[in-house]
Symmetry: C2
Subunit: 215 residues, 2 copies
Amino acid sequence: MTGHQTRSSQTRAERKEQTRRALLDGTLQLSADRGLSNVSLREIARSADIVPTAFYRHFASIDQLGLTLVDDGMRALRVMLREARRTPGGANGQASVEILSKHVRANRQLFQFLYRERYGGSVEVRRAIDTELRFIVGELTIDLSRTPGLQNWETEDLEMAADLIVSAMQEAMVAFLSAAKSDARAEDEIVERTRKQMRLILLGIGQWRPKQRQD
Amino acid sequence: MTGHQTRSSQTRAERKEQTRRALLDGTLQLSADRGLSNVSLREIARSADIVPTAFYRHFASIDQLGLTLVDDGMRALRVMLREARRTPGGANGQASVEILSKHVRANRQLFQFLYRERYGGSVEVRRAIDTELRFIVGELTIDLSRTPGLQNWETEDLEMAADLIVSAMQEAMVAFLSAAKSDARAEDEIVERTRKQMRLILLGIGQWRPKQRQD
DNA sequence: CTTTTCAGTGCACGCCCGTACACTGAACAA
DNA sequence: TTGTTCAGTGTACGGGCGTGCACTGAAAAG
């Protein structure tokens, strides 16, 4: 009631933030089974109970809102990766698959948004996602370079392996999200298959001869 | 000029087929950088130089047209796979990467359509693509089961390996299509990386112990 | 108390959309 | 020659869209 600070306001900004979140959540909901590009500004506004033109008080365009969602999704992804990295054998091992499944369940819509827009989104959204994804491959490459036995690998080869791991993980994520929401059996199968794939890749890495050449 | 057959007509059906192809080609063009769902029926009709309502003489809906494009794309994909299969070591080896790159270059838009709609398309289109893709994994599984040294693998494990190979190949395809149309250096890098990934997977397969268990 | 800020309102506009409907005219069958 | 088929036409409609513009009224600032 009595605002006596020289700094920022309170109730006013709170309400704005609330609407902003409603816009983001509503958009996530609406785009879940159609993609962002098939959602209209008016629909989004409706979902947040504001009039269409008020949308512009929060975002300059739907695309800008999309980029914010990409940020949110990537943040969730980084949280997941951090957990995987501090888990024993997490970054390349089998434990990471369970971590993936856990986080996917907790962030369904956000992750779905990411993989859907990665291929189907606008040019800007696609580029934003690809950039972040490349960054992730880079981090995994560094992780691998510190793994015992891989210190003398060439960066190119490390990147190649990291890329393969990320590809498999992404496919697992997509499979997860395609499975019915509470089909535990299907989820278990995906986990099992992906675990094996990780093991297969690790076996391959163990056999790799760093400077090998082919004609 | 003189049509004297009891069977089908000639010039009439030809013109229809011509328009049909114009519709398919135009749609492929229009959806290349926006996705099928962002293309309007009117645009498609315009691209084929017909009036909007005439569209329905050929397809019941844009979705139906999309399914036809999925068929076309899958046909191209099967042609590619057939070539890979009859090439020595093609199905899992490194030669298959070159075959992939060749066919992708020859069918850019069709393949782009496939991977874009696989995640971003309508429910029906997505299902059609996924079904076909699963079929391909199945065929590769059979190929693997005939490979010397893998005869006593369990089907589940073979499928797991086939799935990983297909994932890597798909990622390579996407990378190809994302690379600028005439960036030979980028394409070479992708080929090289994917080749190595195939080699890595093969090494992993070589080390695989069929009945291995983990806690 | 007075003034300023600004999230949200309400209306109006022009645009493109899908599609219903009645039609035309050339290719074809008889 | 005559009648039928049917790919393509042209008009018209109602509806959703993005957005420009003038506004309101409560919260914040002074």
